[in-house]
């Protein structure tokens, strides 16, 4: 039935032995059990923060992959400017901080019984469940774009094999080829990501295949850091990047992987390399747990980050509807730490303090040209809302030295964040 608990200290073992199999009497001091589903920026951060805040907790992280491959900076990998290995992290230090890691997939959640079912059929009881399943791609949302199609027209929106596939296709493309990208409507993982990717692919083309061109078909008329990107494109990639917004017919309505074509209502584009970033939703386990709503994402309480649709389950990271907070790694990490503090308070019978959260995201236009967006958030009207007067993007008129400085800070951002989560 139940797995878990391989490395318990004597004291914790005594507590565990005294616990009934379900719902331990917290008031009597038994170790509460918190299960975390998903070992990305949100889940791994939360597991570690929980253990740091209350070492007595039994924290189990459910994650089938032995290695985590980070999405931030993976656009550099696509452009041949970084090794995929620099994106990859293992769970050694997470396990070393006293967290039990269950290396299989969660296949179901029973919110009434407070248990998670695992791929091998075992179940894991919890007092509080943290769900950090990230995103799933919606294979039903764009006609022609199936899992098989993604082998011809990579999304590269989950880092790993897809990242390398897109990179190899770009490397193999003839000079003079047309790269066609498709960006989805909101909301989706990493709002500035498609535009950073277009920039860095353009950098690759400019330096390696200068007769080529990139068309970015977009299901939106506005995007994150838009003016900054567009100014940079004008300056650096004038004849290289063509952005086609929704109002100019940019929304892709179907794709054909055999012919490498992307169709809009007005035109069909034949690509040499096609990168389709499809519509997304919360990872499937969120749906199975009943915490996702009809949008496919998970509404949460802005103070505790507890799911609005099921009690005792918290949702953090990209899967959550976090109001004004974007689906970013930094936001996921920030939410994870707030959630951990709220869960520790709730398990102790207390009331979580009203939180304040920050997001900071960097994008690269070239390896030495960085731009950023920042925001500060607090609960308001049942949502995580922007704190008025704070946040915003890099100045439009900054000198090259500022762009270079922000590119350095981007690198620092990645190293600090990944060290905190996996180091």
């Amino acid at each position: 039935m139940t797995t878990r608990r391989r490395f318990l200290t004597g004291a914790a073992l005594a507590l565990a032995a005294a616990s009934p199999p379900f719902r331990p009497a917290l008031a009597q001091g038994a170790a509460a059990r918190v299960v975390v589903v998903g070992g990305g920026f949100a889940g791994a951060s939360c597991a570690r923060a929980l253990k740091a805040l209350d070492p007595r907790l039994t924290v189990t992280l459910i994650e089938p992959n032995p290695t985590f491959t980070a999405c931030p900076f993976s656009n550099l990998v696509i452009a041949g400017l970084r090794d995929l290995g620099e994106q990859q992290f293992t769970y050694g230090m997470v396990a070393g901080s006293g967290i039990e890691i269950t290396k299989q997939a969660a296949t179901g959640v029973d919110p009434q019984a407070r248990s998670v079912t695992l791929a091998d059929g075992a179940s894991l009881a919890y007092d509080r469940l943290i769900m950090a399943p990230g995103i799933d791609l919606r294979w039903d949302a764009l006609p022609g774009y199936t899992e098989a199609a993604a082998e011809r027209m990579p999304h590269a929106w989950k880092a790993g094999a897809q990242t390398m596939l897109l990179r190899r296709q770009l490397e193999a493309m003839e000079d003079g080829g047309l790269v066609v990208m498709s960006a989805p409507a909101n909301p989706f993982r990493c709002p500035p990501g498609p535009y950073e990717r277009a920039s860095l692919i353009a950098y690759f083309l400019k330096t390696r295949k200068p007769r080529s061109k990139l068309i970015l078909l977009d299901a939106k008329d506005a995007f994150s850091k838009q003016k900054l990107f567009q100014n940079a494109w004008k300056e650096l990639y004038l004849d290289l990047i063509e952005w086609v917004p929704l109002s100019a017919g940019g929304k892709v309505t179907s794709v054909d992987p055999a012919g490498l074509t992307l169709a809009t209502d007005f035109q069909t584009y034949k690509a040499a390399v096609a990168n389709v970033i499809p519509p997304q939703k919360a990872g499937r386990i969120a749906e199975l747990a009943g915490v996702a709503d009809r949008t496919g994402w998970c509404p949460i309480d802005p103070t505790t980050l507890e799911a609005k649709l099921q009690p005792n389950i918290h949702v953090i990271g990209d899967a959550a509807i976090a109001g004004a907070m974007p689906k970013s790694a930094f936001a996921a990490n920030a939410q994870a730490k707030v959630c951990a503090a709220a869960v520790v308070a709730l398990l102790a019978g207390g009331t979580p303090a009203e939180p304040k959260l920050i997001n900071t995201c960097y994008s690269l236009v070239t390896p030495n040209y960085g731009i950023s967006i920042a925001g500060v958030y607090r609960p308001a009207d049942g949502q995580l809302a922007d704190v008025p007067g704070a946040g915003g993007v890099s100045p439009l008129d900054a000198p090259a030295s500022t762009r270079a400085e922000e590119a350095l800070y981007a690198d620092g951002w990645f190293r600090t964040l990944t060290a905190e989560v996996f180091g």
Binding site: R56, K356, D411, R415, T416
Partner: protein, 89 residues
């Protein structure tokens, strides 16, 4: 202003005041995290407060800290600074 009492929560790291846990995404709270940005852990609280106020008012040039500092009140900045000051370097 209310005085927050955390004495009722034994055997735990000091509770971070609102906002502080986000700050640690760039300014590490954990000793094992090495970061290229200014390390705040163990820095005198007054020094942190002075810097954040200067960012907030625009007196001190910044890339993102000006935008972030504007989201925090003086009391919040003081609490976060005190929390960082109490962390081991």
């Amino acid at each position: 202003m209310a005085v927050v009492c955390v004495a009722a929560l034994p055997a735990r790291a000091a509770e971070a005041p609102p906002g502080a846990s986000s700050c640690s995404g760039c300014h590490p709270a954990a000793a094992w995290v090495k970061a290229p940005v200014v390390r705040l852990a163990g820095m005198p609280a007054a020094q942190i407060v002075t810097a954040v106020w200067a960012f907030r008012s625009g007196q001190r040039p910044a890339t993102v800290m000006d935008r972030i500092a504007k989201g925090f009140s003086e009391a919040e900045i003081a609490s976060i600074a005190a929390w960082y000051a109490a962390l081991p370097q």
